[in-house]
Symmetry: C2
Subunit: 636 residues, 2 copies
């Protein structure tokens, strides 16, 4: 069975250069459109003012128009009297100054003697307070040079200068072909094994943002002949053709074969991550791009290759997002030979910006929507050393990031409720959470990566939660412990508990499959504690090896039959429609440095945790006790 | 005659606070729309995932799905043979993993023995290369908290999670009423005294950018009763009503009076410049805003008051543009008690960013479209001292600004051609020019505000151009002189030269009106030199006092009959359809620091100046000699 491999290694810079220079001379045709419709478009010719504005002498003030000479000797001791219509007229800002007047005195300096007479106590120099002809725009002057992206200000200036039509480049026509027999539309019913095509919608919207006309085709099954016909036709009718998900190296991926037949492959595979499985080809002197199937790969390739191409066609430079410096506190490994872009959160901890890497993978839309920036690691590097200052491309507003509260720690469904209430109350800060388990949360707090750590770590000796771990990690430091919730931990089981699981001893039954939580999570600590207390060898628990990082995903494995039970919180069981066998009521706390208690954002968070609204919403999840929620203890 | 003055002084902060808190609780209603249409909209409820993705075990690789156990003892010396369908199946990325397999070996590690058999030389741990259920999004997890501005990533995540409809706030309906008897539409024929209404188009476009539904009314004449009726009706039907140009203190400005009658004035006049004459009012618990007539005032008030209000209604924070630090080299005066926003250009001169203030005034659209940033000066300050580091709000891309070439100096029409050719050739830098006269250009170059100075200064003694001035300003410094053009200076006269002007001696004729250029401009130096040489007292030149800052605006005065002649370049006469009496051929040079000759951008500029394309275009303007254009002399 012949399987295509990537052709050869190509660095990002080399790949961009190859692709962009190849199609740099491709010419968009032009069209003439109304000036008021040109926002975001690019003019193909310089635009000159057709008239001056103002094109008459106009008053720059509200006041009276006079002859400067008639005020020459005015003083407080010797005021000058002026007669209406003969010596002056009233004018407002913008009013025409008749030819026989040559200055304007502002109304505040005019004393009205009677209906017909005013008194002036100061002379006014000639041409004072009169707008020059062309003060705003001057006839025949170039307003907008060729190849300018037209904005609101340009539109205003052109209209003022009598330019009511503009020659602009036509928008490039771009066709998007989603391919894949496993793909279905978002509104379709899913069969097992189906995947929803949402990449095509994202690419469609991004292309429109780049001022392209998009033709988005229906999903095409993996059929060599059909895909080939589509590409031939779309290539003929459009400026650029994008094939989605046709670029991994799998058996159903015909894109590469078809493009080699129809034209020339410029490159297959670029040394970046995500985004590696990219195909760039030329068919009939037009570009055809095969974007990877994983959304994060497709999006990065879009921003690195397709967006700059469209910009180039419009005669524009393209810029990556704004970069900031942030400290990366822990080691970030990377693969030499690949330029990696790692999603990070950003927090302002004790007056310095830190970047906290999120979990990797090209497939997690949830991390993408919560990411604040991208940390690039060059292909020549093996990673980033702890405490390095690194450049980060921003995905969110910098000021918002400087003000957001970062929480790292254990997963709990009521954290989402807290986060939502912060937004709902329109508090002036954002709240981000990375769910990594209790232990990692405390380590992050210690390291200075977050404001808050979420933890429910049981001390096997004392039976207390969290306190002994704080002593261990933070000896001598003053901390605050905000009680977040108490919650029921236990066994999540299938509806009706068919395997009759009642206690930890039942887990060693031969036909029983367990699903575990990751090491360092509070739930794992609890589970290991229970095994130990009951003298059960973990090797006897079938499935002890299989870890999930989240209560809900563990619970889902149970409802799907992949496991018979998982240890987790009741609210997760309720959420997925499973049953629940309670084992222990545990305490989930939020830990922070004591001095942060004075921070207005923390005060607001405590207020929300104490609120009836929060408690009511949490209690509908099931398995929570909020009677102590929001109580604060200082620990040192 | 009663004339309204501003009510009382209000600082920007106070005004914003008053306005925004007043209408903070105004509630937008909501609607349910398709997820794919939500870009830029704001959700009014938290959005939870309706399903997990993937919601089955899926391959993370192209390869074969196996039972991990069957590979346990595989090694190079002792490979394991696996049979197709029994022991493995081929899978591609994203494919469903059947229940009896639990790991995927990537295709690169598979050796195909025959059609039915593969060989494995390395064991694969359980669950390796299998995507977890919910790897991308997990059912029941909160994807998007309330009050989030929805972007492309959120749309992708929602679609993947089965969310095909979203409850979002309805767009606020905003009515824009342009008022003013002097206003006409851009496509109308203008009578003398008419002004084009383009503010309403700019505000319309900005409102749409802020996700509002805009109802833009036809221009309303200054008629108390009609304006009142319009306001009553628009206030009833819309969430916000904006009256344009109804807020200066003039006799035709009824807005204030009407709004006092219909509701309550929140404030009239805010202590900022531009933007002072603002009216904020409340009518039937809804905001009504009177924006100033000057475009720059209206735009600033829009960004400081209206945009934040809409953001607030959507539950969003609003942020001013990105700020950078730049050095301000010369003194910038400002008015204590007023917060000023001064338009500046920004250039990267010798590795530091400098900000160069543009000419003031709220009316110049031409400076606005060429501005790179806004320099704010606090109300408690009297200005900015030379060599201060100041914060600048960016109006353009920072990287583009860091790379742009800044020229300051004398005005010439062929500069526009150079600027246009730089864009036309898609050179990777922008080119900005501030026209301030030759002398000011050299001073700016000396001060470090620009890369290039444009100068045509005649030395009365030697008859040479520029050189003696360089010796004076830059003694000892190595400079380069690029010849830009030679051009004809002379008298711009009405068609047919009705006053028979032939030489400078004719300017003292009694019935003759002259229009002058500003002190420090090369043309003024030439004119003064000619007066001196011919022993003419400047007091005898009628109009010597009236200065224009630009060849074309001076020429326009002549065609309008405001003056009989002006000294200027032939191309300006040609541009406005005037006649021309040549007096002197002069040399216009571009001056720069010698070391800049190595800069690739400067090399490109010289190449363009030397090009036939440039010379051809310049020569169509009339009165130019380009035979030496682009020649370089080093001067020290």
């Amino acid at each position: 069975m012949a399987r295509k491999r990537y052709l050869k290694k190509t660095s990002l810079k080399e790949a961009q250069h190859k692709f962009l220079t190849k199609f740099a001379d491709y010419e968009l045709s032009t069209e003439i459109i109304k000036t008021s419709k040109t926002k975001g478009r690019v003019n193909s010719k310089a635009i000159y003012a057709k008239r001056s504005s103002p094109d008459f002498y106009a008053s720059a003030m509200d006041g009276i128009a006079v002859r400067s000479e008639s005020t020459n000797y005015a003083s407080e001791r010797d005021p000058v009297l002026l007669k209406k219509d003969d010596d002056f007229i009233y004018v407002d800002t913008g009013d025409l100054i008749p030819d026989d007047f040559n200055a304007v005195i502002k109304i505040e300096d005019v004393v009205e003697v009677d209906q017909k007479t005013v008194e002036i106590i100061k002379s006014i120099p000639i041409w004072n307070n009169i707008r020059s002809i062309g003060e705003s725009v001057i006839k025949k002057q170039m307003l907008v040079p060729t190849n300018t992206e037209i904005g609101v200000f340009e539109i205003g200036a052109m209209l003022e200068a009598g330019v009511v039509e503009v020659e602009v480049y036509k928008r490039p026509q771009i066709s998007v072909i989603p391919t894949g027999s496993e793909l279905v539309k978002p509104e379709d019913d899913l069969k097992k094994g189906d995947l929803i095509d949402f990449n095509s919608t994202m690419i469609d919207l991004l292309l429109k943002e780049s001022e392209a006309i998009v033709k988005k085709l229906e999903i095409v099954k993996d059929d060599y002949q059909i895909i080939k016909e589509k590409i031939i036709r779309e290539n003929k009718e459009n400026d650029l053709t994008i094939i989605l998900a046709g670029s991994s190296a799998g058996k159903e991926d015909y894109t590469l074969k078809i493009l080699s037949k129809l034209g020339k492959i410029i490159l297959h595979g670029v040394d970046i991550m995500p985004g590696k499985p990219l195909i760039l080809a030329e068919v009939n002197n037009k570009p055809v791009v095969g974007l990877p199937g994983y959304p994060l790969s497709a999006l990065l390739d879009f921003h690195l290759f397709i967006e700059p191409l469209i910009k180039k066609w419009y005669g524009q430079d393209s810029y990556l997002p704004e970069k900031i410096n942030a400290k990366v506190l822990k080691k970030v490994p990377s693969t030499p030979g690949l330029k990696e872009f790692i999603r990070v959160n950003i927090a302002n901890i004790e007056e310095r910006l830190v970047a906290i890497p999120q979990k990797r993978g090209s497939a997690s839309m949830n991390t993408l929507i919560n990411a604040d920036g991208l940390l690039p690691i060059g292909e020549s590097k093996e990673g980033i050393r702890p405490n390095s200052i690194s450049k980060i491309y921003l995905l969110k507003n910098k000021k918002a990031l400087e003000n957001q509260i970062m929480m790292i720690g254990s997963h709990d469904l009521s954290i989402d409720i807290l986060r939502d209430l912060i937004r709902k109350r329109r508090s002036e800060f954002d709240f981000k959470i990375q769910s990594v388990g209790s232990m990692s949360g405390l380590i992050s707090l210690k390291r200075g990566e977050c404001h808050l750590a979420g933890s429910h770590l049981l001390d096997p000796v004392s039976g207390e939660y969290n306190v002994s771990y704080l002593d261990k990690f933070f000896s001598g430091q003053k901390l605050a412990i905000i009680n977040f919730v108490y919650r029921d931990q236990g066994f999540i089981v299938k509806k009706g508990n068919p395997k009759s699981i009642k206690s930890i001893g039942d887990l060693v039954k031969k036909d029983l499959k367990y699903i575990n939580r990751q090491a360092g999570s509070g739930t794992r600590v609890l589970f290991d504690y229970l095994l130990d207390k009951n003298n059960i060898d973990c090797a006897k628990v079938n499935g002890y090896d299989k870890e999930e990082v989240n209560h809900i995903s563990a619970a889902i494995q149970v409802t799907r039959g992949r496991a018979d039970t998982a240890m987790g919180i009741k609210s997760a069981a309720v959420a997925v429609g499973a049953d629940f066998v309670p084992i222990k009521k545990e305490k989930y706390d939020i830990i922070l440095k004591e001095e942060l208690l004075d921070d207005l954002r923390i005060k607001e968070i405590i207020k929300i945790i104490k609120s009836n609204e929060f408690k009511k919403e949490v209690n509908t999840l099931g398995g929570y006790d909020t009677s102590k929620s929001g109580s604060v203890i200082v620990h040192s």
